[in-house]
Symmetry: D2
Subunit: 337 residues, 4 copies
């Protein structure tokens, strides 16, 4: 940790801080410069962070040297982690495709959509029973009934499933009917939920919040992993920026950055990442090319009748076409679809 003092800091101010550093068992360093005094502290940065040295009125800035996450970092665990949803591996040589509707609306709707995406080659089925919506007047999902539909469709087709959890109270029911939890973007920093999911062994798809930095995403994953659940898949789904032409700005820089920093699998959601049906396919291909381990795509048997996110959902024929056009890029990446 590097501590820069304010110009007005005296030698006594510096000594007081050096004493606090030494008292933690870390090694203090004193570096007087021509315009500023700089202090160093070598040792366990989490111990040093607890000192809250930036609170000292004589401190101008504090710069950590190490990343704030540990168990999710590649330094801690150099090899790629493979997470399985059902029997589908994420983070291995295969490129995994999750597809399905935004919301589960009825048995018929989900069954038809699931059959169509499975036939086209999707590996997992998505579908929301509990829908966090910006407006209280929007469709909020079928809840428990939706979960049961999801379980039934999954059983009938043998396709593993992912569904969003928004409340700790629903964890057991979701665990019973689905193969993986999804923590949605709005709940990425809902630590109650992260800790609860971390106490299970269920695979967990963790979506980046729309204003979360990549380090904050990794710290959110660290909550889950450090609570005991190592089965975390990271998901880039777009961030909020000034650009209004698209619903979000899909930050594909995130993919190689996360893969370099962390051993966890990384997938991309081009549906939310663009918010425009016609941009989903090109961005899914870009996700493959920059190293993602999979994509999650919204597909609806009839998007024009969808109760949510229909504008960004693919028609079945479009998904079919996407899977076909994805294949050469998956092969170019040296992977299998």
């Amino acid at each position: 940790m590097i501590i820069v003092l304010k110009p007005e800091a005296s030698k006594a101010d510096a000594d007081a801080i050096l004493d606090r550093i030494e008292a933690t068992g870390c090694k203090p360093l004193y570096m007087p410069g021509s315009e500023r005094v700089v202090l160093g502290a070598l040792g366990d940065e989490r111990v040093l962070t607890a000192l809250q040295l930036e609170s000292d009125p004589m401190v101008e800035s504090v710069t950590p040297i190490l990343s704030p996450y540990k168990m999710v970092s590649r330094e801690f665990h150099p090899h790629d982690t493979v997470v399985h949803i059902g029997d589908v591996p994420f983070g291995s040589k295969g490129f995994a495709v999750i597809a399905g509707p935004c919301s589960i609306e009825s048995r018929e709707q989900l069954q038809q959509t699931a059959e169509t995406v499975q036939a086209a080659g999707a590996h997992c089925l998505r579908g929301g029973a509990y829908k966090p919506r910006s407006s209280p007047y929007s469709f909020q999902g079928l809840g428990r009934e939706g979960l049961e539909i999801l379980g039934a469709v999954s059983a009938s087709l043998g396709i593993p499933t992912v569904t969003e959890v928004v409340d700790v109270a629903d964890l057991d029911a979701i665990a019973e009917h689905a193969d993986a939890f999804q923590i949605g973007a709005r709940n990425m920093q809902n630590y109650t939920l992260l800790n609860a999911v971390g106490r299970t062994q269920k695979p967990t798809l963790l979506k980046r919040g729309p204003a979360a930095t990549l380090d904050e995403l990794l710290l959110a994953a660290e909550y889950v992993v450090s609570s005991g659940n190592p089965h975390v898949i990271l998901c880039e789904r777009g961030i909020k920026t000034f650009e209004r032409a698209t619903r979000n700005t899909l930050d594909l820089n995130a993919v190689p950055y996360l893969k370099q920093r962390s051993h966890l699998p990384v997938i991309v959601d081009p549906s939310h990442g663009t918010g425009i049906r016609g941009l989903v396919a090109p961005m899914a291909k870009a996700a493959v090319a920059c190293g993602a381990d999979g994509v999650m795509v919204e597909v609806h048997v009839d998007p024009t009748r969808a109760l949510s996110d229909g504008h960004q959902s693919l028609f079945p024929s479009q998904f079919d076409e996407l899977m076909r056009s994805l294949l050469p890029f998956v092969e170019a990446a040296g992977r299998t679809l």
Copy 2:
């Protein structure tokens, strides 16, 4: 609602959509232009929203005419709502000041801080028992013990209190020991929590999420109010932008905008909104000047020893000075402190 069709849309496409609009009981309008066909739909926009017309492949854009929130809007309720925390009114002629530490660390720390802020003129005491932190390795609050300290300090000084709720399971305990709930920025779109708080009658301070638009903040408030709890105070606390000199960008435009659109009280948190101790006082004054109903300020009896947010916490003498320097601006605004 205004629906612009794509250039390739046929008359039959337009008719199909007009039929769907008419079927809802709304009034359809057909406006053929030279380069695009535009459709109108007059009536209840929430019914129209449910049609999800933007999902239609022949639709280029859908623009609502009315705001998506209702009960929190000034059109629905023209007069200012006054919310009381204990006996302190928010949204009336008085300018309300909430002060206290980021986290409750001990009985002594909270008691001393509370006494000092009360002596300087603060109306309410803040202090967190449950602390959502980006890192699982940071101090997470004293939990239940912290709540009991908060209740005891409040009782000893007769000062009303606000504390953050992060989990529905803690609601009753918090309701017992504190006078108001705070929904933190990270939980602004935790709808489970919003609905649960909405089923109480406890005043609720709702902080804007760091990536939430003002309309999303008003929709989050609509969750609480439409669930039955009208006692909501909105709080601007800074948003995430590219600017790195400050922790957040305090969006004071929000204050007059929210006051014009909504009848709810609006306060400002210049501590999180700047993240820099030396910017808190000028931004508190700016909050008064642009029409805020109050401020919430982090103060610690010794910020250099604070377990969280010490760098942005005022020293007691600085808070005292802030209260003195705030007074002329409060008077200039025609209010009382």
Copy 3:
């Protein structure tokens, strides 16, 4: 154009606005709703924009129906435009690679870098003689001497060149020594420069500003094209967001969006778009996959000695590896390298 009136607007207010619309020769429409009056105006939107109806105190909002650009739009010109830099086509079946150093530092540095990128398969050479730098104390480029070096290296190797123009006064000299102008991100809305470049017939690579929306980029291109120069190549190079892990957030959504809206070629600069050497190759592949017509990559014969942007410049061996690894993705996209 759709005009929503404020709730307090009277019938007379609406009539006054309808009269102004009619006076322009456009067709006015009156749509009274239950809570708002909506007006329509059908006809040439640029005439309507000149009315500045949003200035009327009785107007709540004005929504245009058509895009504000015309000559650069695909509606106006459905077929892909191919722009040639030297004999290298952009926007055709070939995928074009521009490579070279950020700044021209010496004849030797540019010659060696050019030879190495040409040998690896780059089609065009980049190199800056006039460098806009955030700090007045940073290296500002060799100026005229740099241009002459660029011309000499280009002639010796027969490789076409692109170089940045920052001042109208330099246009002739640059036109003499280089094959294409680059308008840098900081100058994307320098309309003096756009108009001047628009009066030439030189191919112009127009980089998106770090805070420019895609529509603003297209309008900047419209300046050049409407001034008489149709040879414009658009370049996505990253935008400013809250994310600090990367220098910019590369907005690849821009590629399919721009290709769908405009007939102009679109390339990507993954060097500035990431600011991290190790992210350049994956993002170049992503650019191919989402439909870009080319990439521009910073390469330096010895990045550790570069006078600018060395941290994001590839070593020659890395560029060689990039070209090899790009090929399967280019083929997957049905293009040639």
Copy 4:
């Protein structure tokens, strides 16, 4: 300067960098930690910056200790600089108000607007002759004719003037007819223009770019000052963020931050900073309260007929009311209006 090496860096890698630091005459420091080696370099940071150490593949990060600007910093020049436009001081005890139309449209329009703002108490007149507009089809200003109108109106009323410069070729003409240059937000990093203005002694109002950090604004000012012109006034006018309710997000944090870091006067433009007529007055008051030295406000004799920015321009009566309501806040700030 603090240099953190990558985990794989060897002692020889560190030594090579230490040698490069020593060769500059700066003092190198070697700090081996448990997980990373950290190097320090004490001395002139601009010399160190030229080393471009971040380009070294063994370097993980480089953190400067000192700010990159010098002449504009308060450390370099502790006392407030007062800049005069005509006889109006900026940065002294008086609070300065610049008012006038976005564009000069005619002698009559400017004369009437100028008379009305002067009568209400404005100190300076603004008005654009050269208008940078996003669209080539928007009104671009009257050019030279506009300048002459500005000069004539100024002479007739004895009110000093500010007008925007977009092209070095116009500098002399503008200098002849106006009292101060304005560098607009789109040109904040047009270094050709900054250097040209820096070679004059004319007061220069430098507006922050919509994506410029505060440090970038100070570096832009450093261009002007280091070129020889110390008469720079900084202007916060809003930045681009995800918030769509307002045209820009007015970043008032900038005011105290800039005043603490720099000795230059700082003013605020609430017209562009909000883009909404009804938000201008509250944000002007907030600007006073947080320490701004003045405001610049768009006023038009008839905003409904304005050729640009009418929606954010005040009616004369609104400006009159603003000046009256500003006074108590100016007095609360201990200043005069």
